[in-house]
Amino acid sequence: MLEQPDELSSEIKAELERLPRERTPGQLLEERTVKELRSRGLLRSPRMRPSWIVVAAAASIALFAGGFGLGQWTTSRNVGDALVTAQQITAQQIEARERTAMEAAELVQRTGSAYVLALASLASMADSARNGELDQGREVATAALYAAAGQLVSLIPDDPIAVQIRRLLSATQLPGEQESSRRVVWF
């Protein structure tokens, strides 16, 4: 069939119909658009609820204090680094109240990593350390874990791992044991 010059053939019309109507650009475009909107004050970063901020900060402090206590106890070459980390983390904790949930989560992750590293350091010295010092290290590590598990239970009441840790640590606490009997200096 002969069409007029300004008409499209049915084949071409069908091809036009079949053209895809959607294409997803790269993920970077979304991020850069959001960043630009934030910088212009048109968007606010998602913030955590106040209770989240308090719990996250408390968990961070508990974890940090445990790690820092261990660092102190070991009096190893890592103490200097631990002090620097302490300053950085404390500053971040203060700022966390004004920052995003994502940043607060990152802070918890970093502090947790510091805690785990400190534990690893303690474990590596288990053979060479004197018994008293080792006990003190265990005590502070357990106390930090207990405190963190307590905060985690507040944060996620149904989390089975946190509940189990807290229950287990409560059960293993000796009758009559008191806070004052601990030898760890908390900050």
Binding site: I12, L19, P25, L29, R32, R38, R40, L42, P46
Partner: protein, 180 residues
């Protein structure tokens, strides 16, 4: 409503939801209108969202949000075309497939659209792909209905010629000739 959360609270989650809902369509539309330039298309889509967010308070909910976004994006595309060629919406009578086009090479519609002058392509896309009327196109492009009809006439003729003759890789020569 997501748009209200963005407008009233600057809610980022709501914005991201809106962005993800509408951007795939918007990006494809802009990319095709601009003739396949991904960098330009991304810039236009980003600027579209910025302007939309800035002016969300003035949006009247009588029309779908997508149409409003499309209008903003089209306006930005138009500005880009104008910077290249102030007479971008005038007839390009000299635009014809080059003699060196090879019927055996063959091109598809997408490629044919890319090879067309900006004004032809834009009007053809709006009318034959997106389904807008000449009155709407004239309003969106800030021109007359007569210009819209004229551009469509030339665009269809050019597309037919391109698809029927096929094309070798001389498209650059054609576009250069067209914009000269």
């Amino acid at each position: 409503m997501l748009a209200e959360l963005v407008l009233e609270q600057g809610d980022e989650r709501a914005f991201r939801a809106l962005y993800r809902r509408h951007t795939p369509y918007l990006y494809q539309f802009v990319l095709r209108t601009l003739g396949g330039s991904e960098l330009d298309a991304e810039d236009v889509v980003q600027e579209t969202w910025i302007r939309a967010t800035q002016n969300l308070g003035g949006f009247r909910w009588e029309a779908p949000l997508r149409s409003w976004l499309t209008g903003i994006a089209l306006n930005l595309c138009r500005n880009l075309f104008r910077r290249k060629d102030r007479a971008w919406l005038e007839a390009k009578e000299e635009f014809l497939p080059a003699a060196s086009y090879s019927p055996e090479a063959g091109i598809d519609v997408e490629r044919g659209l890319q090879m067309m002058p900006d004004g032809y392509r834009t009007v053809l896309l709006l009318h034959d792909v997106e389904g807008y009327k000449h009155r709407e196109i004239a309003e969106m492009l800030g021109t007359s209905q007569g210009t819209s009809k004229s551009q469509l006439f030339h665009a269809r003729r050019a597309l037919r010629a391109l698809l029927e003759t096929g094309a070798s890789d001389t498209s650059t020569d054609v576009r250069t000739r067209d914009h000269a």
